[in-house]
Every structure is written in C-alpha cells, then in structure tokens.
C-alpha cells in the first residue's frame, strides 16, 4: 500500500493527481490480495493438512481379516458421504419419480408414502449424498439422509422401525420382533436386514462374502480416514480382463477394526463407481434421545402391516417370490467375479416389448444392438454392470465386460 500522503499533497495539484492515481491502483491491491490469500488457503490447506499416511505396525491381510471379523463396535455415530457414479444417464428428477413410482406400484399393499424407506433409499443410487449414522447396540440404530432444509430419518429402536420424512411431514412405521436382528446376525445374515447396504461396514461385508480363490486380498499401506489411522485392504479380482470391477479398497480403522471407507474402482479406470466413507466418526455412546421418536402432531402416519405380520423380511421375501414367478428360475453362470446371472423373462418378442411400448423404445435407445451365438439382443451398459436382453426374452446380468457377457450368453444357451 502506498504511504499516506498528508494534506500538503492537495496543494501541489500536478503531483497530487499522479499520486492519487498511483494510490488508487495500489489500494485496489488490497481486495486482490484478499482474494489471492483466500484462493491460496482453499487450495493449499487440504494439501498441508494431509500429513501423510500414518505409521502403523505391519499386518498381513489374513490377520486384518481376522481382526475385522472379531471387531465388535456397538456404539458409534458419524457422518458418511456416499458418491455413486454408475455412469447412468442423468435423468434427474425423472429417475427418482420412475424409481419411486415403480416401487410404490410394486409394493404389495400399494401404498405410496414418501416416508417408505425402500422408496427413499433408492435415491442413494445416484449422485452424492450425506448420511448420518448412529448406533447403540443391535436394537438401536438411526440413519438420516440429509437433504436441503429437510431430512429423512430411519430409526430402529427396539421393536419399532420409524421412517420420518421431514419435508412432507410423513411417518412410516413398522414393528419388528425384538430379537429379529440378533437372530439375523446369529444366522450370519446381513446386518440391517431389509435395508440396502449403505455403511462402509455393510458394503465390506458384502464384498468379503465373495472373497474366494478368484480374489487377491492384500494390505496396501495405510491411510487416514475421518481423522483415524487406518489400514488399506485391497480386494482385487484375479480374473482381470473379463470383469468390470477394477479393485475394491477398504480402509479399516487400526484400533477398532471397523471399515471406515469403501471404494469400488472400475477396471476401465476413472472415478470410483461407489465411494462410501466416514467423514466424521465417534465411538462414544450416542445420546439416548437420538433414538426416541414420537410422530409429530399432525404428521401422516403410514403403518406397514406386511412388516408387522411376520419377520422383518416378510415383505421382501414376498416381493422376491412375486418376482421369481415371472422368471423361469435364476441361473448363475461362471464363478467368482465372472459370475453372470441369467434368467428367462418368458417374453418371446424380446427387448423391445419387455418394457412395453414406449418405455421399451426408450430403453432400447440406451442400449447397443448385438448379435452372437445366442441370437441377437440389446446390451445395456453402465460403468460397472452390463446387462444383455436377448430377443427371445433371456436376460444376462453381471459385473463383466460386454464381450465376456456375450460369451457367457453363448455358453449359457
């Protein structure tokens, strides 16, 4: 900044004019400097804050898996960030309404409450979302999907499962037998039962289920996730070249052995298809009031009787049966990462009719026409999953390349 001129500068008009001009320009340096400092801070602070990978004792993949299996984190709360990039065409709102419309009409009792968890959690399939999770033992969990000036919460407390959509002020309620979850866990079933896997732990459990001799599991250094030191577990398919899965990386807390971050990278490279990780985590017991829920006055409450009738999964099983009736059985072709699910929709006139009329045409425009030993059909591609719908009504789906999918279809004939 230019030095301060005193009153005498105004007396010498010539010099004063030049000084003033220079001073004017110099003073504009202040806002420019402020902007520069701000830009530098935004650019540099994350780089400086990244203090490098933590130094942790060496551990083998086997030991790490054992520790993870023994991990018994009962109480936690935190913020989870989910990014999904399947490479689907961005249909925006249309996609959501299609999905929820399909779910609402497909649900056995046909209700369309906006607080229904299955409709709501479908939104997680695309884009980036922020979730909050809290858990206190097997009987009390809470999952909140943060939205603009609104929130969708799914609260499990003892025998009650509540869904609360604050935007529409609607409540969904179901009752589950008190010990259903514990039984589920003892039977080795999925944690979370009827909810889609959304936390890093649930996703990791699913990924590790598929670990067999077609998979290499290694410990790939360390990392810091949500301020905690973590081991990086790298799960890689051995059959490279045919599967679209490049690798799965799981960051495991080095103290509690809880998976903190789950990243699935496609073989084609580029951004992760699924990236789910804690941005903040605390292992302290969450406040008891977190899990208390009474429907607000005036809220529309939808009771889910399908849930109340039987076990937590009754409705799911029923709809799966309904679904299965439509197909001539489900076959799995190939093994490990190359598995391709095949089923027959029974419809003979192929892909164009499978969606019926205009919708079929719309779907057809997203796919590629192919022919091979299986006849001809349409391949629908995403960055992870490819699906082949043949003209004679067979459907092949797998996380494999288009070529491998068509070969599987040839063999499956």
């Amino acid at each position: 900044m230019a030095p301060y001129e005193s009153d005498d500068s105004t007396t010498a008009a010539e010099a004063g004019e030049r000084d003033a001009g220079r001073r004017g320009i110099a003073r504009y340096g202040v806002p420019v400097a402020v902007m520069g400092v701000a830009a530098a801070t935004i650019g540099l602070v994350p780089a400086l804050a990244d203090s490098g990978d933590p130094d942790l004792p060496k551990i083998s993949a086997q030991q790490l898996l054992e520790k993870m299996a023994q991990s018994d984190v009962q109480q936690l709360s935190g913020t989870v960030r989910i990014s999904t990039d399947l490479g689907l065409p961005d249909l925006g709102g249309l996609e959501n309404s299609l999905a929820s419309g399909a779910l609402a009409s497909g649900a056995p009792d046909g209700h369309g409450s906006s607080a229904d968890p299955s409709a709501k959690l479908t939104e997680l399939a695309t884009g980036t979302h922020t979730l909050r999770v809290a858990a206190d033992g097997p009987d009390r969990q809470k999952l909140s999907l943060l939205e603009n000036a609104a929130e969708y919460s799914l609260i499990h407390n003892g025998t009650d499962v509540w869904g609360y959509d604050s935007k529409a002020n609607e409540v969904y309620h179901a009752t589950a037998p008190a010990n259903a979850r514990q039984k589920d866990r003892k039977d080795g079933k999925d944690r979370g039962g009827d909810e889609p896997p959304v936390t890093p732990r649930q996703l990791t459990d699913q990924a590790l289920k598929s670990v067999d001799d077609t998979t290499s599991v290694t410990v790939d250094g360390t990392a810091q996730v949500a301020g905690r030191d973590a081991y990086k577990l790298l799960i890689k398919p051995r059959q490279s070249g045919t599967t679209t899965v490049g690798s799965i990386s799981v960051d495991v807390d080095a103290r509690t052995w809880l998976p903190l971050k789950f990243t699935l990278t496609p073989a084609s490279g580029g951004a992760a298809v699924v990236d789910v990780g804690f941005t903040r985590i605390s292992y302290a017991k969450p406040a008891a009031s977190t899990f208390d829920f009474t429907p607000p006055k005036g809220a529309k409450v939808t009771e889910d009787h399908a849930h109340a009738d039987g076990s937590a999964g009754a409705r799911e099983q029923k709809s799966e049966q309904d679904l299965a009736k439509g197909f001539d059985g489900l076959k799995v072709l190939g093994e490990g990462w190359n598995s391709v699910a095949a089923f027959d929709t029974g419809s003979r006139d192929g892909a164009s009719a499978s969606g019926g009329g205009d919708l079929g045409g719309l779907l057809g425009s997203f796919g590629d026409r192919v022919r091979g030993g299986f006849g001809s059909g349409t391949v629908f591609s995403t960055r992870l999953v490819n699906a082949l719908v043949t003209d004679d009504g067979k459907v092949y789906v797998g996380a494999v390349t288009k070529k491998a999918l068509m070969e599987a279809a040839d063999r499956g004939r």
Binding site: Y4, E5, S6, D7, S9, T10, G16, E17, D19, A20, R23, G24, R27, Y28, G29, V30, P31, V34, M35, A38, T79, S114, R132, S144, L146, N148, A149, A150, E151, S153, I155, W162, Y164, D165, S166, K167, A168, N169, E170, S289, T290, D292, F293, T294, P296, K297, G298, A299, K300
Partner: protein, 300 residues
C-alpha cells in the same frame, strides 16, 4: 472539490485525536436514525413484516379442511418447513425466513446498501458529510455498519412478525426437529433466534457487494438496481449444474444452510462454510469499496 481527500485513516496515523471517537459514534447514530427514519426503509420493513402474515394466512386457509400444507405428497414446492407450520406456529419463523432469504431480504439490503454512498452523492450531500473531520474510511465504515444493522433489523422483523402470526393462527408447543427428535419450546425459541442471527449474517456478503457498487456511481437508483440485479443473476447461476466447480463460491450458495440448525445434532459444516464465505465477500468487496471511495473524486 479536490480529489484525494486527506482521508487520514485514524488507526494507521500516529496522531489519533481524541475527538475522533465521539465523531464516530455521533456519525453512526446520525446514520442509523437517518436510515431508519426514511420512508423507503420503513416501507421495506413493512413489506418484510407482511410476508409471514401472507404465508401464515395462506397456510391457515389452505389447511382449514384438515388437509396437509405444501400439497401433501412429496411436499415439493413451497418453502422449507411449510408442512410443519400447521402443527407448530414456531415453524412459521423458519418458513418465513426461508421464503424471504432468497429474494425479499437481499433486495431490501441491496436497496439500503446501494443507496449508502451513491444516494448521498445523488442528493448532493456527500461532500457535506466529508467536510466533517471524520475521514472517508470512517464514513465508509459507518455506512457499512448501518447497512449491517439494517440486515439484522430486517431479519428480526421477519422473525418476530412470523412468531406473532404463528402464535395467533397455530398452536405452539414442543417441536420435532427435522431429524425426528423432540426439543422443548424454549429450546426451539433459542434455535429460532440463532437461525435469525445466521440469516442476518448470510446477508453480510450482499451488503458489502452493494456498498462497493454504491461507491462506483453517483446515481442511487443505478446502484440499487445493479445490486439487486447481481443478487438475482448470481442466484440463477447458482442453479446451473454445469457451473458446479464455482458454485460453492457464490454468496447465496449456502444460504439455506440455516436449516441445518434444526437438525439434531446440528450439522455445522455448511453453516461454517456460509459464514466463512460471507466474511470473504465482506473482506474482498469491503476493501474494494474502500479502495474506490478513498481515492475517487467527489463531485457531488
């Protein structure tokens, strides 16, 4: 009138004369009374006070037959929290703030900020203000302080009007946060006050922007129109997905984050980002206004 007014900045000059402080407070008091006595300001505040009344009456009429507000169903359209208003009048405060923050509040602030310097120049009173030994920097700070005071008063007018209307038309009581937990009415009232303060702070950036625009021109109307136009343009740009790389740096980008105070526990990330962004805009455009105002020719 000569250019380059002496404009001694008091806190940088070694000789700080004691009367200066009295001058500052006198100037500030004077500015505040002038601003808040203007018919224009009172009309703006009147419009702001009327918004919650309109929203409240509309919700009341719409839900007379017991149907839910906000069209039920998806609850789309309509400002945030509108579905809860019928059950708890306190939510009208949040709805009214969410409804006025995108347009009415920044417009009112834009009018007051744009008028701050350019209006005086327009009326030919700026040179008389500078005759007083207050200095240009001090005058500018006073103008900015007055604009910020208006931000706070305008927000509180909306909040208090909404609370009054909400209490008259709807029941009050314990409320459910958007996370589904219950808090007492006193706690809710505290959060409402905090939200009003955050909303007022969200306007700091617009106020600085308006003040800078105001130093660029001698026409009060031009400054107001430019500021309000900028507010609208930036909000439109903030809706364009293709600009996602720069959107987080638009001043209205985190405006609706005040609703995060109604989560339980409060989600601070976006709130803090909003406050940081407003501080950045205040620093950049405040110093730009200072650079312009302390060096420009005062001709009116």
């Amino acid at each position: 009138m000569s250019r380059a007014e002496p404009a001694a900045v008091p806190h940088t000059g070694p000789a700080v004369r004691p009367p200066r402080r009295r001058w500052t407070f006198g100037l500030l008091r004077n500015e505040l009374t002038t601003t808040f006595r203007r018919w224009r300001t009172l009309a703006l505040l009147g419009v702001l006070a009327a918004v919650p009344v309109l929203v409240g009456v509309a919700v009341r009429v719409e839900t007379r037959d017991g149907s839910p507000a906000g069209g039920g169903g998806g609850g789309e359209g309509g400002p945030a929290f509108i579905a809860q208003v019928t059950n708890n009048g306190l939510f009208l405060v949040f709805t009214a703030l969410a409804a006025t923050l995108p347009f009415f509040l920044p417009m009112a602030v834009g009018v007051v900020a744009g008028d701050a310097v350019a209006g005086e120049a327009n009326a030919g009173t700026l040179r008389y203000l500078l005759v007083a030994p207050a200095g240009r920097t001090r005058l500018l700070l006073t103008k900015y302080a007055t604009t910020l005071a208006f931000c706070l008063v305008a927000t509180l007018v909306v909040a208090v009007s909404a609370l009054a209307v909400g209490a008259l038309l709807f029941p009050l009581g314990d409320l459910t946060t958007i996370s589904g937990t219950r808090i007492t009415f006193a706690d809710g009232l505290g959060r409402a006050l905090l939200i009003a303060l955050v909303v007022a702070a969200s306007l700091i950036g617009v106020a600085a922007l308006g003040l800078f625009v105001s130093t660029l021109t001698n026409s009060g109307i031009a400054a107001m129109a430019t500021t309000v136009g900028l507010v609208i343009t930036v909000q439109i740009l903030d809706q364009i997905p293709q600009l996602h790389a720069v959107r987080p740096y638009f001043f209205p980008h985190y405006w609706l984050s005040f609703a995060d105070l109604m989560r339980d526990p409060v989600y601070w990330d976006d709130l803090l980002r909003n406050l940081g962004l407003q501080a950045l805009y205040a620093a950049v455009f405040g110093s730009a206004a200072w650079a312009r105002f302390t060096t420009k020719d005062i001709t009116a």
